[in-house]
Structure formats: C-alpha cells, structure tokens
C-alpha cells in the first residue's frame, strides 16, 4: 500500500522536501508506522518525541495510536501553527 507523509514548517525546511510517498508491504497501525519511519530516517525519532508536534491522518488529528493505516492514507506532520 501507498502512504503519503506531508511535512510542514521547520520540518519541511529541515528535510528540504514537502512530502514523501512510502510503499509499505505489511498491514500496520499508526504505532507501527512511526517505527517504520524512524527506521527509514532517525530524524523521525526527534519528531515523534516532540510534544508540540501534531499528527493528522486524512485531515483528522490522531487520537488513538492503534488506528489502522490503509492504502492511500495521508499523514500530516504539523509543528505549532502560526497563522492569522
């Protein structure tokens, strides 16, 4: 299955890209996805331990980390917002 990960603000700047498209073989939930991403790039361990960052699956904030990830899902990784 394909999972899009979108980066914003300082994360986008640091990674120097606004998104990644990952091809994933096994069925997984958000907890597993985190481990998958950390294995890809250790920078993600910094992201996932930062309390100020919020995670959205298909434009809904993740409340339960056991939520299943399915083909076509979009994960948004959001530092604190500063609009307005």
């Amino acid at each position: 299955m394909k999972v899009t990960v979108k980066y914003f603000s300082w994360i986008r700047v640091k990674l120097n890209k606004s998104q990644d498209l990952f091809e994933i073989e096994e069925k997984l939930n958000f907890k597993d996805l985190k481990l998958f991403l950390i294995k890809k790039d250790n920078f993600f361990s910094e992201i996932f331990s930062d309390d100020s960052i919020k995670f959205f699956i298909n434009f809904k904030e993740i409340e339960n980390e056991t939520i299943d990830i399915v083909d076509g899902d979009e994960l948004g990784i959001l530092p604190p917002v500063t609009g307005g």
């Binding site: 914003f8 603000s9 100020s52 434009f59 948004g76 959001l78 604190p80 917002v81 500063t82 609009g83």
Partner: protein, 153 residues
Amino acid sequence: MIKITNKDFSLDDLYSNIKSHKNGAVSIFLGTVREDLFNEKESIEAIFLECYEDLAIKQLDKIRTEAIHKWNLNNCIIVHRVGKIPLGDKIVFIMTSSPHREESIRSNEFIIDQLKTKAAFWKFSQYGDDSKIVEAKEKDLEKNLKWKDVIKN
C-alpha cells in the same frame, strides 16, 4: 464562505457578499504584516505564509460553523492569504454579521483566537533571500482557553 488565496482582496467586494437587510452589525478583523514581527530592531521585508490547504479548509469550516451556531450569525466570511505577503498587507480577514452588535463582535474575536492556534498555517519572515520561522505564541494558546466554556455550552 471560506477562501485561501495568494492574492490581496477587496474589503468592499467581500462586504457585498454579506450585505443584508437582516444585518444590524458587521464586525471585521484584519491581521496584517507588521514590520517588527519579532519585536526586533531589524525590520522584515515580507512574510511567507505556508498552509496545509485541505486540512486548513476543514479547520476553518469547523470554527466558522461553531461561531455561526453559538452566536446565531447571519453570515461569516473567512479569508486567509498564503505565499509571499509584503509589509503592511492583509494576511487574514474575518467578517461576521448579525442583527445586534454583541453577537458579531464576540464571534469575530472567537474566530481569530481559534484560528491562531487551530488552523494549519505557518508564518516565515523574510529578509532578502533569508527566511526565518515565526514561533508560536503562548499568549495565543491562553486566549484560546478563554473560549472553552463558550463552546461547551
């Protein structure tokens, strides 16, 4: 109406969308690009506004719907600019209309307080080719908390 745009906009055009015999009061808030965005001596040249558009539209729609229901508004328009915005230009526009002023005023303030902490936009200040991330403000989070009881009721 909710709109995310990379162009400046006319207040008169937006107002014409909500003009109505049912309105006794219309409140507008404009956020604009201040030169001392960092309270530093050095003046910025412009800001750059980044947005997660699909999410931001949903978030603004939720805030707008909450405000309309809570204050029984006649109408509400939210416009947010993205991309490069010159000094002094408009960043955000919020317009609320109601029969009496209490409702348009309160709801307008509610919307900007919510938007500041709950909509997927990010500011960067620009100095020449350099850009710098604008840090989120504690104060905005506090302002948000004051509406907790309002939106629970």
